[in-house]
Amino acid sequence: MSQKPLLEVENLRIDLSIGDTKFPAVQDVSFTIGRGETLGLVGESGCGKSITALALIGLLRHPLSIGGGIIRFDGREIQSLSPAQMRQLRGDRISMIFQEPMTALNPLSPVGRQIAEMFVLHKGASWRDAERQAVEALASVRVPAPERRVKDYPHQLSGGMRQRVMIAIALACSPDLLLADEPTTALDVTVQAEILDLIRDLCAERGTAVLMISHDLGLIANMCRRVGVMYAGRIVEERAAEDVFRAPSHPYTSGLVASLPLLGARARQGRHRLMEIAGVVPPVAAFPAGCRFHPRCRASTEICVAADPEVTLLPNGGSVRCHHHE
């Protein structure tokens, strides 16, 4: 078996077309995911984390399009694949879970059938066989009484149950890579904990690599070995998960960590005024020149306005994109 990483993304650029103008919603994004590895992408709304995932699975739609860079999956550049080849990959080897379990399933189709479609599409199974496998798939995501639940329609299931169905669909063909886009944001905390456990366990069993996307830094750090922090279309810092909280290197990351009221912090240290990050998240069409974080950054100097910082490798692993990193 080759030691090449499962997924390599180099200098990915995603354009947002507004009229005739194209704005880089994602730019110079590079990362790799090894087989069975878990990478987290964390960032605020509009930072480009979700569309990065959509680009990986080839589901960007107008007004978004890949504007440059290379996505190499298992050694093959996916941009060079024909639509039919891409379809074979999608679902079978790369699959995705979306944020909204309420709308991500077809309301007019029983969930069992929606799972069974995977076996018909990718394994050439007959519908009868596929329906049987769907029961097993539902059982594997720990849905009680799966042989009855397969006949249910999405509206008969709770949000947590629907997200389990989504996971069953996504993992039906034991893919190499699972893209999980805010899979628990719409769920209650106790349900979230169960769903996260489920993803963790099932992917470990199957050797599936995970790209986990969330705005919740704590969740990402808990779930992933490595974390990429995105801001305004760029990965500003990529580190081992523990380091992101303990010793953040980019001013944005450290600002974010200091601004979060972490559970247990007050009990340990008493109430501090939270550190604020000034300003607002810029919209895609108004990303600032130079370092995109400079208007909100405490450490900003002239060079941050003038020049785009390069990626710097950090001594103990990881990288940061900042002129003044710590």
């Binding site: 999608r90 679902g91 079978d92 995705m96 309301p107 007019l108 479609e117 329609y153």
Partner: protein
């Protein structure tokens, strides 16, 4: 399932009763009765004795609520009263005229469904294409054209100039006679169905579950086949049901233009002559037919869409 259908049918009864009450009250406040309107018609005043006799004969001398009570009681026995004009039972007058109207309405709807729905579908699958642009320009024109004018023009070209089809009348009730009025009547619902179908398909195309379907690795054709068609159908069916009402309403004009012996031309004639029992009966029949079609549509939707509960 059966109980669902029965319940939906039962739910239409209050509406039918309300319609009966509404038109009854409306025509009870008419300034002047049939008898006096005959007087207006230029045939000279009827003498008071005749008027009184007629009012009595048709039970018009009683107070309004008594008349409504009697009316409803008769209605329950499917007795719609007697035509002022022909003195025939209204029900038999209506029975003669019902079939041509049903024929015309169904033909118009079939024409609009068979062309409109696929057209909207194709347009939505290729948004911005020539076929999309042309069909949508066509659709807005179809919605805007007065149908009796269109009928008149078609009558001129296809019947009078080209001589392909008869210009008016029921004839043997066959396709040759049906074509022109059905097309003239069907153009507007065709246009509306094309637009609705297109909008519905476009909306579903952007739905999250279609994105899920794509993420499974389905081809666009599979997505349409497995996930899009049924969902669009629910919206289209509802529109079809509502359009039936509009079509029957508009049939009035087309029947008059093409001298089609249906409920519509009967209704216009009866209104002009204030033959009120016939007017009431015709409207009630049209409303009942509309409700029946929509109940059918509801049942179909409930079969397709599991979110609609059988309650």
């Amino acid at each position: 399932m059966l109980s669902f259908i029965v319940r939906r049918l039962l739910q239409t009864i209050p509406i039918i009763l309300a319609v009966a009450l509404l038109i009854f009250v409306m025509f009870s406040v008419i300034p002047g009765t049939f008898a006096s309107s005959m007087g207006d018609d230029g045939r000279g005043m009827l003498d008071a004795q005749v008027m009184e006799r007629m009012n009595k004969e048709f039970g018009l001398a009683d107070p309004v609520y008594v008349r409504f009570g009697k009316y409803i009681a008769q209605l329950a026995q499917l007795d719609l009263g007697m035509s002022f004009r022909t003195r025939q039972p209204v029900s038999s007058v209506l029975a003669d005229r019902m079939w041509p109207t049903l024929q015309l309405s169904f033909a118009a709807m079939m024409f609009s469904i068979v062309i409109g729905v696929p057209l909207g579908f194709i347009a939505a699958l290729r948004p911005g294409s020539i076929i999309d642009t042309v069909s949508m320009v066509g659709a807005v024109s179809g919605l805007s054209v007065p149908k009796f004018w269109l009928g008149l023009l078609m009558m001129y070209f296809f019947a009078l100039q080209l001589g392909w089809l008869p210009s008016f009348g029921y004839g043997d009730g066959g396709l040759r006679y049906l074509t022109l009025p059905a097309v003239a009547l069907g153009v507007a619902p065709l246009a509306l169905l094309a637009r609705t179908t297109r909008a519905a398909v476009l909306e579903i195309m952007n739905a999250d579950f279609v994105r899920t379907a794509r993420s499974k690795g389905m081809s666009e054709w599979r997505v349409v086949q497995w996930h899009l068609a049924r969902n669009a159908l629910v919206i289209v069916l509802t529109t079809i049901g509502l359009q039936f009402g509009t079509v029957i309403g508009q049939a009035v004009v087309i029947e008059k233009l093409f001298a089609w012996p249906g409920l519509g031309s009967l209704l216009v004639d009866s209104v002009t002559l204030r033959d009120i029992p016939v007017v009431q009966g015709a409207i009630l029949l049209i409303v009942m037919f509309f409700l029946l079609v929509n109940t059918l549509v509801d049942v179909l939707c409930a079969i397709i869409d599991p979110r609609i509960k059988y309650t």
